[in-house]
Symmetry: C2
Subunit: 219 residues, 2 copies
DNA sequence: CGTACCGTTGAGGTGAGTCAAAGTAAGTGG
DNA sequence: CCACTTACTTTGACTCACCTCAACGGTACG
């Protein structure tokens, strides 16, 4: 990206701090620009026409959000909620558009980003009714690996989920009671340990092998 | 779009005819360009890692497909199968890219299209495990309305689905036996009539009212 | 030390899957 | 045009995974 563009964006952007539970934008809001998460974690939550809520994405610092609605020229399809203390940088939509117009390479980059983003598509695998909940939960752990987990020296995966049970359950379309039972099952089989909002997976290969996934992939 | 661009595209494009059952491109194929369906209907089918198939979209003549994978620079995420006799026009990817580079307005148009396309997102509503299958099926009818249905003079919706039961069932993640029972139920309640691959909905308002949807929307 | 809220556990119900078989439509070959 | 095969659809009986409801235990917070 050109220096002029960077200067322009730096001039227009502004940063806001959010505390856990506060929302950055709401479903049905008109989009005004793009948000870049500088620190902390966010949750994207969707309310369907029945009033049921579905969490479909955890956003980690360094990621951007809001561009889908901006480019689609449609209201936000989800509400973004801070899971922890967050610094969010906002760039107005008109700046983005000006930059795209002056730099074709940027247009390609955004096209690629938007096309690659599966958005709520993630949910397809996570929520497929044909898969038993245990499998869906393991998929969720796989999905959250890059966002909420660290690999310890001994090869264990350590998740620091900032979500409570009901929110985790909502990601895979089940009830928190059912999640409790799944967790209990995994714990009993020594596949994972759960203490509060922390999850430890002693042998990731084994766990993800259960659903036919080999790890090296960095999706 | 400029005349020069149109000329360039016309020079590069080529049309191919397909018969029912033939596929236009396969999942995992590298994308080479964009396809425009000039006549007929297509089905987009996805195979997941378990070998289960999911149909997630019916494409009607006039619509284009394949651009998501092209812009994402990733293999096709689905297989496109002809449901009827189809004429498909192919435009190579490099032509599209050249046109975008020379016309910023086209870049915005594509950004909008890609951002709006929910792709397999449609599936989220159609496949949500929390919704009973009857509701999901009515959602499916709502979704297929613009693609496979006509409104008769008397206000009845007449669907000409080119799909067999198992393929319909696959769109909402259920088994064909279950679909049979759902159909039977709707038939008994006079909400719809099913003869072979044709569906007649005598009172669309009533049917879609069941899932809390008012019709006028043209999504 | 209470009040909430969150999480777990248990009992019971049920919607949808599975399996098997019958019924129906669509091809195929004589 | 009619037997024959093959594929699709429906029906029934059964099972089970998950939901629901309800009660209980933990933990956070004032």
């Amino acid at each position: 990206m050109s220096e002029a563009g960077v200067t322009k964006i730096n001039a227009a952007r502004r940063s806001v701090h959010y505390r856990p539970g506060e929302s950055i934008f709401h479903q049905h809001d008109q989009p005004h620009g793009i948000y870049c998460l500088e620190s902390g974690h966010l949750l994207l939550r969707h309310f369907d026409t029945f009033g049921e809520q579905t969490n479909f994405q955890v956003v980690k610092y360094g990621e951007t959000l809001g561009w889908r609605s901006l480019f689609a020229e449609r209201p936000h399809a989800a509400t973004a909620i801070a899971l922890s203390r967050c610094d969010v940088c906002f760039v107005p939509g008109w700046v983005i558009k000006e930059c795209i117009d002056s730099e074709p390479a940027l247009a390609h980059a955004f096209l690629k980003t938007v096309a690659r983003d599966r958005g709520p598509y993630e949910a397809l695998m996570l929520r497929s009714p044909r898969l038993p909940v245990r499998v869906r939960f393991i998929y969720l752990l796989l999905y959250l690996r890059s966002r909420c987990a660290n690999l310890s020296r001994s090869g264990m995966l350590v998740y620091d989920l900032l979500l409570q049970r009901r929110d985790i359950a909502s990601m895979i379309g089940i009830r928190s009671e059912t999640l409790s039972r799944v967790i209990h099952g995994l714990e009993k089989e020594k596949l994972a340990r759960f203490k509060g909002r922390q999850i430890v997976v002693p042998d990731p290969e084994k766990l993800f092998g259960l659903i036919g996934i080999k790890l090296p992939e960095n999706d």
